[in-house]
C-alpha cells in the first residue's frame, strides 16, 4: 500500500502549493480514474438498484396524480383535489378492514411463532439422542423449501369439502364435513397453523444456535446446586435467549404493516367469502392494481403502507441496535 501510493503523496504535496480547489477536484477525478475498475464492478448493482428500488421511489407521487398509463408518472395531471385518492381510501370500509386484518393477523403470527419456535428449540435442545435430533430437525426444516403455492395445494387436500382428509376424518368421527372455504372465522387459525407448519423448523435454527452456544458450566453449576432441568431452563436457557427473542421480535414488529402476499394469495386467493378475516393491505393493493385497475386507490394505500413501514423499520431497528449493536440490520 505505502509503496504504491508514495508517488501520489508527493504529487499531493506539489498540488498543495497551488490552488486548493483545483487540488480537491483533481483529487476526486484522480480517485475515480484510479478506481475505475472497482466502479465498473459496482455498476451492475448500482444500475439494478437504481431501476428497481430508486425509480419506484419517484412513484410515491402517483397517489397525488390522476394517473394515466399513457402519460406516465410525471406526465399525468395532478389530482384535484390533491388528496382525493386518500379521502376515497380512508372512507372505504375495505381499506379499514385490510389495515385491521394486517395488524391483527401479524400480531397473532408473531406471538404464536415466538412460543412455538422458542419452545421447539428448547425441546430439541433437551433431546439426548443425536440421531433422532438430526432426523427430526431435517424433517421440520423441509417445509421451508416449498413455495406457498404448494402449501396451498396441501391445504386444499386437507380441507376441501368433498375429498379433504380433515373432512373425511370429521365424517368418520361423526362430526360431519365443514365447508372450510366459506368459514371466514376459522382462517386466522388455519393460516397460523400453515405458517407454523412451514417455518417452525426454519425459525428454530437461530434459537437452537443460541442455546448450543450457552456455556455448559452454567448448567453444571446449577445441577450441583440441585436445580432441576425445568429450573435450569427457566433460570438459564430462557434468560440467555432473551436478547435473540427481543431482537427478532422487534424486527418482526418493524414489518407489521407488510403482509406476506404470497401466503395470502396462494392460500386464500379469490375466495371472497374469506375476505372479512383474510383480506390484507397487500392483497387489496394487488386486486386494485391488477384486477379492478383502480390505481388511484392502490397507490394511496401503498403510499401509506410505505411511510408507516419506513417509520416502523427505522424505530424497531433503532431499538434493536440499542439492545445489541450487532443484531441490528444497519
Amino acid at each position: 500500500m505505502e509503496r504504491r501510493t508514495a508517488p501520489l503523496y508527493h504529487e499531493g504535496i506539489t498540488k498543495q502549493k497551488g490552488n486548493m480547489r483545483m487540488k480537491r477536484r483533481n483529487g476526486l477525478v484522480r480517485d475515480l480514474a484510479q478506481n475505475h475498475q472497482l466502479l465498473v464492478m459496482f455498476l451492475p448493482v448500482a444500475t439494478l438498484l437504481f431501476l428497481f428500488c430508486y425509480l419506484p421511489l419517484s412513484g410515491l407521487i402517483i397517489p397525488f396524480k390522476d394517473f394515466d398509463f399513457q402519460k406516465g408518472i410525471f406526465g399525468s395531471d395532478w389530482m384535484d383535489p390533491l388528496f382525493n385518492n386518500f379521502d376515497y381510501l380512508l372512507s372505504s370500509d375495505a381499506a379499514f378492514r385490510a389495515v385491521r386484518n394486517t395488524i391483527l393477523l401479524n400480531v397473532l403470527f408473531i406471538a404464536v411463532g415466538l412460543v412455538f419456535e422458542v419452545g421447539f428449540a428448547l425441546m430439541l435442545n433437551e433431546l439426548r439422542n443425536k440421531y433422532f435430533k438430526r432426523v427430526t430437525q431435517s424433517l421440520t426444516f423441509l417445509p421451508f423449501f416449498i413455495s406457498w403455492i404448494v402449501v396451498g395445494v396441501f391445504t386444499y387436500n386437507l380441507l376441501n369439502y368433498e375429498t379433504g382428509a380433515v373432512n373425511r376424518f370429521l365424517e368418520w368421527i361423526g362430526a360431519g364435513p365443514v365447508d372450510f372455504y366459506s368459514e371466514a372465522g376459522l382462517w386466522p387459525i388455519i393460516l397460523t397453523i400453515a405458517i407454523r407448519w412451514k417455518v417452525t423448523g426454519y425459525g428454530t435454527i437461530i434459537y437452537l444456535a443460541a442455546l448450543t452456544s450457552i456455556d455448559n458450566s452454567y448448567y453444571e453449576a446449577a445441577s450441583i446446586d440441585g436445580a432441576s432441568r425445568w429450573q435450569q431452563i427457566r433460570y438459564i436457557s430462557l434468560p440467555m435467549l432473551r436478547p435473540t427473542v427481543v431482537i427478532l421480535t422487534l424486527l418482526a414488529i418493524g414489518r407489521i404493516m407488510n403482509a406476506d402476499f404470497g401466503m395470502f394469495y396462494a392460500m386464500v386467493g379469490d375466495a371472497t367469502l374469506l375476505f372479512p378475516t383474510t383480506d390484507v393491505i397487500d392483497t387489496l393493493v394487488y386486486r386494485s392494481l391488477r384486477q379492478s385497475g383502480d390505481i388511484g386507490m392502490a397507490s394511496a394505500a401503498g403510499f401509506l403502507q410505505s411511510v408507516v413501514a419506513f417509520v416502523l423499520v427505522l424505530s424497531s431497528n433503532y431499538a434493536a441496535r440499542r439492545i445489541d449493536r450487532d443484531s441490528a440490520i444497519f
Binding site: 475498475q37 439494478l48 403455492i149 404448494v150 392502490a298 401503498g302 423499520v313
Partner: protein
C-alpha cells in the same frame, strides 16, 4: 443418573417432537400417494396414505399429453439457472467493492445499498416502472432482473470478504493484477462458502417464485412451473386447450383432475426434495452467518 430421573419428560418431549416431524412429512406423502391414485379412488375414498390402485396415468398425461408442462419446466429451469449465476456474479462484485477497505468510496456505495433496505416505493410504482418504463411485461427478464441485486445478500458476502486479510488484496495489486482478476481469481474462490450459501438461497427463491410471473407474465407459454400449478389448481380444464390435446385423449378419455394436480405438485417440488438432503446443511450454515450479523 440424570437421564433416568427425567426419562418421563424425555419421553414426552420426544413424542411431541416426533409428532410434529411426522406432521411436517404427512402432506408430502399424501401428495405422492394422490398422484399415483386413480381418480375414482380419490373421489370415492378421499386422499389416502397408500394408493388403493397404483397408476401412472396422471404423470403420462402431464409429460406426454401436454407440452405446457414441459415448457413451464424449461422456463423455470432457465430462470433459476440464469438468475442464480447472474446473482452470484453481480452481488459478489458488489460485495467485493464494498469490502475493499482501501477503496475511498466504499462507504458512500454501502449507504446507496442500505437505503434500498429502508425505503420502498411499494407495489404500484414498482409495477408501473417495470411495465411502462422498462418494458418487462411478458419477457423472461421480468422474472430474473427485479430481485437480482439484493442488499441483504450483498452485505452477507461483504462481511465474509472483509474477514479476508487486506494484505492479500494489496499484494495481488502490487503484482500487477487488475481488480477483475483479483476478484475472479483470488477473492471469489476464497469466498466459495458464502457465495454457495447465497447462491442456494437465491436458487431456491427463483425456483419457488411465482409472484413475478403473476405480475408480469400474461403469455401462457412463458408461465413458470409454480404459476402453472396455481392455474391448474383453479382450472384443470385449461389443459385441454393445450396443443396436443389429442395425445392426452389417447391416454385417458377424461382428465383425472385431482390426481393430476397432485402429479404436477410432485413434479414441482421434485427437484427440491431430491436435492434437500445434500444442500440442507449449507442452508443451516447460511442462517448462522445471517444470525451473527444480519
Amino acid at each position: 443418573m440424570l437421564t433416568r430421573r427425567f426419562s418421563l419428560s424425555q419421553a414426552a418431549i420426544g413424542a411431541i417432537v416426533l409428532l410434529f416431524s411426522l406432521a411436517c412429512l404427512f402432506p408430502f406423502i399424501m401428495v405422492v400417494s394422490g398422484s399415483l391414485s386413480t381418480e375414482n379412488d380419490i373421489v370415492n375414498y378421499g386422499y389416502a396414505f397408500i394408493p388403493r390402485h397404483v397408476t401412472l396415468s396422471s404423470y403420462k398425461i402431464l409429460l406426454l399429453g401436454s407440452s405446457r408442462i414441459v415448457d413451464a419446466y424449461i422456463i423455470s429451469i432457465l430462470v433459476t439457472v440464469i438468475g442464480t449465476v447472474l446473482s452470484i456474479i453481480v452481488n459478489g462484485m458488489g460485495g467485493y467493492v464494498m469490502a475493499r477497505r482501501s477503496f475511498k468510496y466504499r462507504n458512500v456505495l454501502s449507504i446507496y445499498v442500505i437505503i434500498t433496505m429502508l425505503f420502498s416505493g411499494g407495489l404500484v410504482p414498482w409495477y408501473i416502472i417495470c411495465v411502462r418504463y422498462l418494458d418487462l411485461k411478458d419477457t423472461l427478464w421480468a422474472m430474473i432482473l427485479p430481485p437480482l441485486a439484493n442488499a441483504f445478500n450483498m452485505f452477507l458476502i461483504r462481511n465474509f470478504m472483509m474477514a479476508i486479510p487486506e494484505d492479500l488484496y494489496e499484494s495481488a495489486k502490487m503484482d500487477g493484477a487488475s481488480e477483475y482478476r483479483i476478484f475472479f481469481r483470488l477473492i471469489a474462490p476464497l469466498s466459495v462458502p458464502v457465495l454457495a450459501t447465497v447462491g442456494l438461497f437465491v436458487a431456491l427463491g427463483y425456483w419457488n417464485d411465482w409472484f413475478l410471473g403473476l405480475m408480469f407474465i400474461d403469455k401462457q407459454e412463458l408461465q413458470p412451473l409454480q404459476l402453472l400449478l396455481r392455474t391448474l389448481v383453479s382450472n384443470v380444464e385449461f389443459l385441454k386447450s393445450s396443443s396436443n390435446a389429442a395425445a392426452m385423449q389417447q391416454i385417458s378419455a377424461t382428465i383425472p383432475s385431482e390426481s393430476i394436480k397432485m402429479a404436477l405438485t410432485v413434479i414441482t417440488i421434485g427437484p427440491i426434495i431430491f436435492l434437500y438432503p445434500f444442500v440442507q446443511r449449507y442452508f443451516v450454515k447460511g442462517l448462522m452467518v445471517g444470525a451473527v450479523k444480519g
